[in-house]
């Protein structure tokens, strides 16, 4: 892909100036580029936002980060998939608005936990909207509580340092792929090729029909106890360590879309985040082996 990075960063300004997000918030980058890609594709985005950081970030009534150019509907925690489906059905079937793309922009708390049944139901019905999972691996908006996306060994306010999260993160990518949805991808905004990977995936998803799911991993400095300036680096290391492989599921087949040039040990990713400060050597070894195993699975699946 011959796309230049600088114009991407320069042009993705639809949400400027400012929003309510914390400094270094990974999901701000995702939303901002997402809006830019959709508008550049000539589509009108319509955002459904369940209770999450973005309920706050979109601004206090009557101000809005969309500056009355982009629609955000702040909906209930558990029903964003159903509500996105309603918009998609009425825009598509009654109003014949092919130019409007409904985007459910949902955190991991809703996706993995309270709205999990709803996500599964929308996937099963193949409802026609784009689901962006904003995964920061805990209930960050309410103050860093454990969710179904919290990884093994992470400290949160409800899995405190004396008893960090036991058990692994729910594997939402495989779960949703088993629903035979038309498109699923993972993305995180690390290095230049990773940003390009994100653009390619969103552009593809925008023009597809049915339930499209993009899982974005977004560092959260207050929740991950990381430095704001490390957000992009941590995203990059998530991919380079294979903790978060960049993959795609399309027409029933898996594909690794970005193979790291150099693989790094998981410790490089973990040490930039104080939430993992309590890990023992044994814990790290477990994370390494389970990371390798999962990546191997993607490699095998990609060969098919």
């Amino acid at each position: 892909m011959a796309r230049k990075l600088l114009p991407l960063i320069r042009d993705a300004k639809e949400l400027d100036p400012g929003n309510g997000a914390c400094p270094g918030c990974g999901s701000t980058l995702v939303l901002s580029h997402l809006v830019h890609i959709i508008l550049s594709a000539g589509r009108i985005p319509f955002f459904v936002i369940p209770a999450s950081c973005w309920t706050i970030n979109i601004g206090r009534f009557p101000q809005s980060i969309g500056h009355n150019k982009i629609s955000f509907d702040a909906t209930l925690f558990a029903s964003a998939p159903a509500e996105a489906a309603a918009y998609a059905d009425v825009f598509g079937r009654i109003k014949k608005r092919e130019d409007v793309i409904v985007v459910a922009f949902c955190g991991d708390g809703s996706t993995y936990d309270i709205a999990f049944g709803g996500v599964s139901a929308a996937a099963e019905r193949n409802d026609n909207f784009l689901y962006i999972l904003n995964d920061n691996e805990a209930y960050m908006n309410t103050g860093i509580q454990k969710s179904g996306a919290t990884p093994f060994g992470a400290v949160t306010t409800t899995t405190p340092a004396s008893s960090p999260k036991q058990g692994e993160k729910k594997d939402i990518d495989f779960i949703l792929a088993e629903h035979k949805i038309p498109y699923l991808a993972t993305a995180t905004l690390g290095s230049v090729p990773m940003l390009k990977d994100f653009y390619a995936k969103v552009e593809k998803a925008v023009f597809k029909k049915g339930f499209r799911f993009i899982h974005t991993l977004n560092p959260c400095p207050p929740g991950w106890k990381s430095k704001s300036e490390d957000t992009v680096r941590i995203s990059e290391l998530a991919v380079m360590s294979n903790i978060f492989p960049l993959v795609e599921f399309e027409n029933g087949a898996w594909r690794i879309t970005h193979m790291p040039l150099k693989t790094v040990p998981v410790t490089e990713y973990l040490t930039l985040q104080e939430r993992f400060a309590r890990l023992t050597e044994k814990d790290v070894a477990f994370i390494q082996s389970s990371t390798d195993e999962r990546f191997e699975r993607f490699k095998q699946l990609s060969k098919k």
């Binding site: 009108i44 702040a74 029903s79 509500e83 489906a85 309603a86 059905d89 009425v90």
Partner: protein, 382 residues
């Protein structure tokens, strides 16, 4: 398809079927559905009758919570929306109910009332809907099958005029499953009464007029939104009376507005009831010197009308088919607020226990001895 709709005829059918016919006669555009006993026949009939219809979205949802979420968004896009539920389903959707009231979603929800767990029970009482009295939904209670059909059509008209959801309640099995004769009006008659849904432009969500919705406001702005719900409820009192008169004129039926008053206006004893018990109580009026008030709309509650009508009554029996543990039952609480210490509260028909003419006659006999400060429970053995 619509051609199966037996419009303009008198038929023998159940309350659930009447509800389904009423929704279609109201030209609903979106029907999200989820099954629960005893409501199921409503969504089954609607599925059959809308299959293949490109102008109606019938959507099977994964829960009542999702169902009302779907319903509210479709309504905000200017669609006329209908759905139905019962009991646990209504309770499961609680969060959405409070939201659709406060967000001013003028949809109609038919509720085939059923008692609530625990223990699990299928019989009818009004604890499901009465416990939702504070959510900002208009609440109508039907006393017969004809009224279910009529009130759904009336409900859309009122809901859309005041921008509030309307919950049309009818007791499960007693009204949902028992077949009776009723008249299905012609589509043309319904169209004359109920024009197409056309909410204010600024109320509709329009992607061409982008903005943020349901954002967090400052406390005074939040409070003003709540006050608007209260005002809409109060406005609904007049709208219900006016539209019920209009309905009666167009459909040639007796007017049923906020409440129905029968019996001797100068009687010393009054009775206030709701739903099918109100219908049973009508039989008493013939042989007893009694003033009967059957409440049709519980929200908004017709306190002024009730107070005026009960002016000369010495003692008032209120029959609740619902409870408020540790307090006054929902209907009695309203009547006490309107009519003061002459009121005696009775709780009957819980979980589907029989409430017959004899039950009600016994209640009248107990009026003098009933305690004023707590409800008297009546549990009839089958």
């Amino acid at each position: 398809m619509k051609k199966e709709l037996p419009e303009g005829r008198t038929v023998v059918a159940t309350g659930n079927e009447a509800a389904a016919y009423a929704a279609l006669l109201s030209r609903v555009q979106v029907i999200p559905a989820y099954p629960i006993t005893p409501q199921t026949v409503v969504v089954e009939r609607l599925a059959e009758m809308t299959a293949g219809d490109e102008h109606i979205i019938y959507k099977n949802m994964e829960s009542e919570h999702a169902m009302l979420g779907y319903a509210s968004r479709a309504s905000k896009l200017g669609m006329r929306v209908f759905t139905a539920t019962s009991s646990q389903g209504l309770l499961y959707a609680d969060e959405q109910l409070h939201r659709i009231g406060r967000e001013r979603i003028p949809m109609v929800i038919a509720v085939a009332n059923r008692s609530v767990a625990a223990p699990l029970n299928l019989g009818p009482d009004l604890n499901d809907s009465m416990s939702k009295r504070d959510c900002g939904c208009l609440q109508f209670y039907c006393s017969n099958v004809q009224e279910i059909l009529d009130t759904i059509i009336l409900g859309f008209k009122v809901a859309e005029k005041v921008l509030l959801p309307a919950m049309i309640n009818y007791e499960g099995f007693i009204l949902s499953h028992a077949a009776s004769g009723f008249e299905i009006p012609s589509q043309a008659t319904v169209d004359r009464f109920l024009p197409a849904f056309s909410p204010p432009k600024e109320w509709i969500i329009d992607p061409d007029r982008p903005r943020s919705y349901s954002q967090i406001p400052a406390a005074p702005a939040y409070a003003r939104f709540q006050l608007e719900v209260e005002r809409a409820m109060n406005r609904a009192r007049e709208v219900i009376e006016k539209e019920a008169r209009e309905f009666s004129k167009i459909f040639g039926r007796e007017k049923v507005g906020l409440l129905e008053i029968t019996g001797n206006r100068n009687a010393k004893i009054g009775m206030v009831a709701v739903g099918s018990i109100g219908d049973t109580a009508k039989c008493l009026v013939k042989n007893n010197d009694l003033l009967l008030m059957r409440i049709h709309t519980f929200r908004p509650f017709p306190a002024t009308e009730l107070r005026r009508a009960l002016k000369n009554v010495k003692k008032i029996a209120v029959i609740d088919r619902a409870t408020s543990f540790g307090g006054t039952a929902p209907l009695a609480a309203e009547v006490i607020a309107a009519a003061g210490p002459r009121v005696r509260g009775f709780i009957a028909g819980i979980g589907g226990c029989n409430v017959t003419e004899t039950t009600l006659e016994n209640i009248i006999r107990k009026l003098d001895t009933a305690k004023p400060d707590r409800p008297t429970w009546i549990i009839e053995e089958n």
